[in-house]
Each structure stands twice: as C-alpha cells, then as structure tokens.
C-alpha cells in the first residue's frame, strides 16, 4: 500500500516535471542564429564570445551559434550549407564573395532590410562597397586599408634611409630594385597575382570599364605601359618568380622569413609576422602605402551578409547591426589594426593618437589615408569568366607568351564579348 503510493507520487512528480519543461520550451522558443566569421580564431575568440554573451543577455529569445571558417574554405562551406538547407543566418564575406553570392540571388537586400536611420551611421562610400545592380548586399563591418611595412635592417644594408621610406609608387619600385641589386634579397612582391592587376591599374588612375560599364577599356597606351613596366621588372628578376602564384600569403611568409625588404599589406598581417618571427617584427617599420598616380587607396571591406535561406532573418539583421555598431567596432579596433565602417566610431581620437609599436603607427597612418580610400573591387556580371580571361592575359604577358599590348587587347575583346 505504502509502496504503491510512493510509486504513484513519483510518477506524478515526473509528469509534472515533463509538463513544466515542455511548457517552458513552448513559451520561449529561442531563435538559434548561426553566425559565420572568417579566420578570427584564435586571436579574437575572446572578443566574439564577449559580443555574443552581451547580445544574448539583452535578447533572451535569441541564442547565437558562432562558427569560424578559414578564408579559403568559406565559399565552399557556405554553398554546401545553403544547398543542404542549413544556411547560416549571418555570414562574414569580403566584397568579392558578397557580390558573387548576390549574383546567385542568395542574399538579403540590405537597403531594404536596414532602416534608413541605421544606414546613415555608416560611411556612405563603404556602405556602397557591395552594391550590385543597384542594391547593397552586405552591412559593412571593418575595413583594412593597405600600409607599407619594411625591414629596416634590409634598408640599411641596401644603403637606403629607414627614416625615409618610399612615398610614391615610382619610389617604391626604385627602392625595391635597389634592395635586390645591393643585397640580393628581393625588395618586394607586387600585388599582381590573379586579377589584382585590375587594382594596380586603378591605383595608377587608369579606368577598367567605360562610364556606362558596358565596355572594357583597359588596353589603352597607359595600361600597356604600366603592364610592360612590371613585365620588364619580372624579366629582370626584380621580384620572385612565384609572386604570380603565391600572392599576399607568399609575400607575408617571405617577409616573415626576413627574405623580403618591403611588404604592402593589410596591417592585420603584422600580427602574423609578430607571432611567426619576433626578430623580423622588431626590425619592422611601417609607413603610408606608396600611392600611384591615381592617388587612391584600395579599401578591402569585410561585410556581414544575411542569406535569403536563413530561418531567422529579422534576428539576423538585428544581430549584424549590433556587431557593427559604434561601440563594438571601436572595441574590435582596439585589438587589431582595422578600421570601423561607422562614422561616429571612426571619429574617436584613438585612431589618430599614434604610438611606438608598428601596429600603433600603422593605425595612425592608415587613419589618415581613409579619406582617399575606396574599395577597388571590380564588380561585373559573369565575373568568373571575365576574371579567368584577365588572369590568363596578365600571366601570358609575364611569361612572354604575348606582348603586353596583345595580352590586354585579347582580354578586352573577351570582356566585351560578355559584358
């Protein structure tokens, strides 16, 4: 008798417990927002965890799941997730990635999703970085203008004055050739791999497309002269043969090994040099990016995008706005040399203060350059085909398969057939 009572009572308790737990779950279903970033672990794990904790405290109905993806893998992983019906809700992409996904109609139009008052907080030129066919597909997060980092020991060995680094594109090339001739160490690895010559043209003030964007125009005499200049530098062995394949990763590696005089790069790569080779880091000085005749600086932009297939669109946009608000961007900028996309955050005196470490100096220098900076990513339809032809033309010129004139004429013809 007693026994049966106990059983009945414990069953009742169990039932009650079940009811209450399911009841709680039904009352507040937490929206699980999946947030993807590019290569922020392990340096910035603490910062992102902090953001998430703060957001979840303020929004008990939302839980954020953070996934950090290596830069090389983000496109494939995102596609696989979208195809598998498990698209993330907020994804960090660069301008090229954003435009590619926008061309596939995979992203939410941010001009529509973000209220005008919130949009006004961002720099208008940065907000427009991801504009494709009239709409903007990413909320700008942070921007990273290039700077010039140089190894002062190599400078001294080449008889150059570390106090006066090259200030123009021409002086930069002169210094690089002098370093190679006098020390045997390469002076620079110019950013000419893949399709980055499109940026080299623009930095020298040369147009890529006609004003109506219907014709490619990068085969004018000045374009040809510029390409020919780099081709002759390459033939004279003024920069390493693998420059065209290894890109900025190869340049950073070579610089960190003490085998490169100068590095034009985003200042965030100084972190890598610091952790890989403290000796080279100690010898490193930074200066403003040596501007070409166009007096314009590329401003690679990181954006937060919201896939159309995500399940929590409203929460996703709100979380993206939270991550990119003034306070949070400013806090992020305190950790690494990057710059905010919002105007109020950029006005903070922190950015003009300077300091002694290469990072602090880089920050003050780059802050002064933001006024002439703009994202130089070329946005065109059928970008994969056009870029493949452009890459082939540039490499053909470098490896002597075509003259610079022939190469650019051919690429322009390919482009005009598809634009």
């Amino acid at each position: 008798m007693q026994n049966r009572h106990t059983i009945r009572r414990s069953l009742a308790v169990l039932l009650l417990a079940l009811l209450t737990t399911t009841g709680v779950a039904a009352a507040a279903p937490r929206a699980r927002v999946e947030f993807w970033t590019i290569s922020l672990q392990p340096f910035f794990s603490g910062y992102i965890h902090g953001l998430i904790a703060q957001y979840e405290r303020a929004h008990p109905a939302v839980s954020i799941r953070w996934i950090d993806v290596p830069a090389q893998a983000i496109d494939q992983k995102l596609l696989a997730a979208v195809a598998g019906g498990v698209a993330p809700d907020v994804v960090n992409l660069n301008t090229e990635g954003t435009v590619r996904m926008a061309q596939a109609h995979a992203l939410v139009d941010m001009d529509g999703a973000v209220p005008a008052t919130a949009r006004a907080r961002y720099f208008p030129n940065i907000w427009s970085s991801t504009r494709y066919l009239g709409s903007v597909y990413g909320i700008p997060w942070y921007v990273v203008p290039n700077i010039l980092a140089y190894n002062q020991t190599v400078f001294r060995r080449a008889g150059l004055d570390p106090a006066h680094p090259p200030a123009s594109g021409d002086a930069f090339i002169q210094a690089a050739t002098a370093i190679k001739e006098r020390t045997g160490i390469y002076g620079f690895m110019p950013n000419v791999d893949g399709i980055r010559f499109l940026r080299v043209f623009q930095e020298d003030g040369l147009p890529i497309l006609s004003p109506d964007r219907r014709r490619a125009v990068f085969n004018g005499p000045d374009h040809v002269r510029l390409l020919a200049q780099y081709v002759s530098l390459f033939k004279r062995d003024a920069f390493p043969a693998d420059t065209l394949q290894r890109g900025y990763l190869g340049a950073t590696e070579r610089y960190a090994a003490g085998q490169l005089g100068m590095l034009t790069t985003g200042p965030q790569f100084l972190l890598r040099v610091r952790s890989d080779s403290p000796d080279v880091y100690r010898d490193t000085r930074v200066a403003a990016y040596p501007l070409g005749r166009g007096r314009v600086l590329d401003l690679p932009t990181m954006a937060l995008t919201v896939p159309l297939r995500g399940r929590h669109r409203a929460e996703a946009v709100e979380f993206a706005l939270f991550v990119t608000n003034d306070t949070n961007q400013l806090a992020f900028c305190h950790l690494v040399v990057i710059f905010p996309s919002t105007q109020a955050a950029a006005r903070d005196s922190y950015f003009t203060r300077g300091g002694v470490t290469p990072e602090d100096q880089a920050r003050a220098i780059a802050a002064g350059e933001l006024g002439i900076a703009r994202d130089l990513t070329v946005v065109v339809p059928h970008s994969d085909e056009l870029f493949r032809a452009f890459r082939e033309a540039i490499e053909s010129a470098f490896f002597g398969r075509m003259t610079p004139q022939q190469a650019l004429d051919w690429a322009v013809k390919e482009w005009n057939g598809k634009l």
């Binding site: 596609l79 195809a83 693998d242 065209l244 994969d384 490499e395």
Partner: protein, 303 residues
C-alpha cells in the same frame, strides 16, 4: 516420409535460400554503395543536363552544357593537361616494378626500406604538397643540390615556369605513389613460384632475360591493376595542383578536376561542372577498357 520433406527442403528451395543469404550478407555494403556511389553518380550525370547554382532550383537545359564545352578554351586546356598528366603512369609503374623486385629479396634491413618507400603514401597530400613547394623553392633543397653539383648555373623556377611546372607536380605524384604500387607488385611477385625463374636460369637465361620473359609476363595481372588505378588517379589529379601551383602559371597545370572545382565552387556553375565530370568519366572508362584489352592475358592462368 512427410516429416522428412518438412525437415529437408527441396533442392530448389535450398538454392533459393542460399542466394538470399548471400544477398543478405551483401546488403550492408550495397546500401552504402548505393547511398555514396551509385546515387551521386546518377545525380551528377543528370545534373549535367541542368543549369544549377545551388541557390535557385535547377533548370533543364538539355545538352547545352556539352555544347558549351566544345567552344570553351579552358576545357581544352584542362583536358590537354590532364591527358599530359597520364605520362606519369608508365614511368611510375616502371619505377615501382624495379623497386618491388629490388626489395622483394628478403635480405635483412629491406623491411625498413619497404616501410620507408611506403611512408609517402600514408602522408597527407597537403603536407606533401607544402613540403615539395619548399623543396622546389628558388632557394630550396632541389636547386641547392643541383647548383652544388654544378648541374645548374642558376636556380630553376620549378613551379613558376609554364614549361616545367606540370612535370614538377607530376614528379611529386610519382614520389608519393611509388610505395603504393610497389606493394601491389610485391604481392604479385610473392605469387610467382620461384621454380619458373630457376628453370629459366638453368636454361641459361641471364637476369635481364628472366625479367623480360618470365617475371614481367607473370606480373601482368598486377600491372593491369596498377596501371588502371594509376591512370584513373592521374586523370583526377587535384590536390597536388591546388596546393603547389593553383593551376598556374598561365594555366599550365590547370587540370580537369581543377577546372571542375573552379566551375562548381568558384563560379557556382554546378551543372557545367557535372558535364565536365561526365566527360572526364567517359575518358576514364575508355582508358580502363583499353588497358584491360591490352593487358588482359598473362599471369599464372591460361587463357
């Protein structure tokens, strides 16, 4: 009488049950194959008739993808490079056979050698690629040794010269595959009774004649297997290229798999990439059939 029929089923029923048992044993493997091989193959083949970018639903386009291939210069570049890559097959097989014959003798210490040759096979291809990128560097070990031996006067840009890069990558494939095929040939050599070679020796055949007229014909089944396997993997080479040259310079190492990867995950043309895959599969099947025709006879069985 009646009880007996109940206890012992008729021969036909017994055979039926045996077949059922066999299929039941096969079932788990068949299910896995169906899910991870047959279904993707069929899906991929069907996909080649569609335009599909993952995000929007697939659109049927018939043979348009294949027609586009015909005029696509990068398809021809990639196909040419993939076919050039097949040159690795005879060299690799020749080296593996020689190596197998050498380490086949059970002298002491050869066990270590066998293990050493097998080591690259079990090393991750990405690690191998990065390692060889360093070895091939202008200031790397390969150039250093060749310069020291005065074979070269200036460092060779192994991975950065359009005329050399493909062969430099092929060499890595060879280096990595050697141990794998060596093991196949070792197994083949074990199966050859020593009597044949002894008989040939008594008849006065020298080592080279024994190799040509006795060992190689008897190894034919192994050669067929290894050649087919290595031709298939040569046609689908990707990782080495991805890690070491990213298809460059001037698309000289741009192979079919690399182009498929670019089209599928770079440009989101999954239907087009599937069409490339179908063409590659056709080439692979053709090649396998050819090598079976050429190398079918031989070994210990009489045809």
């Amino acid at each position: 009488m009646e009880r007996q029929t109940l206890a012992r089923p008729a021969p036909a029923a017994r055979a039926g049950r045996r077949i059922l048992t066999a299929y039941l044993f096969l079932l788990p493997a068949l299910l896995l194959l169906a899910a991870f091989t047959f279904y993707p193959v069929m899906f991929g083949t069907a996909l080649s008739l569609f335009e599909y970018d993952v995000i929007t639903p697939p659109r049927f386009v018939g043979l348009a993808n294949f027609r586009a291939l015909w005029t696509d210069r990068y398809f021809w570049i990639a196909l040419e490079n993939s076919i050039k890559y097949l040159a690795v097959v005879p060299v690799l097989q020749g080296c593996a056979i020689v190596l197998a014959i050498w380490v086949h003798r059970s002298t002491r210490g050869l066990g270590w050698l066998r293990a050493a040759y097998y080591l690259p096979v079990v090393t991750s291809i990405v690690v191998v690629g990065i390692l060889w990128r360093w070895l091939y560097d202008d200031a790397g070990l390969v150039n250093f040794i060749l310069l020291r031996l005065a074979v070269l006067h200036a460092p060779v840009h192994w991975l950065a010269s359009p005329g050399i890069a493909l062969y430099a990558v092929m060499f890595v494939t060879l280096w990595k595959g050697l141990g794998y095929y060596m093991v196949i040939y070792l197994a083949g050599l074990e199966a050859i009774p020593p009597g044949y070679a002894e008989a040939a020796a008594i008849d006065g055949a020298n080592a080279l004649q024994q190799l040509r007229h006795v060992i190689l014909p008897l190894l034919r089944p192994s050669i067929l297997l290894a050649t087919t396997l290595s031709a298939i993997s040569a046609l689908r080479v990707f990782e080495e290229v991805y890690v070491m040259t990213s298809g460059g310079p001037v698309y000289s190492t741009y192979t079919m798999f690399y182009y498929m990867f670019d089209q599928a995950f770079g440009a989101l043309h999954l239907g087009y990439a599937a069409a490339l895959g179908v063409v590659l599969a056709a080439v692979t099947i053709g090649l396998s059939v050819a090598s079976f025709r050429l190398l079918r006879e031989g070994g210990l069985s009489y045809y």
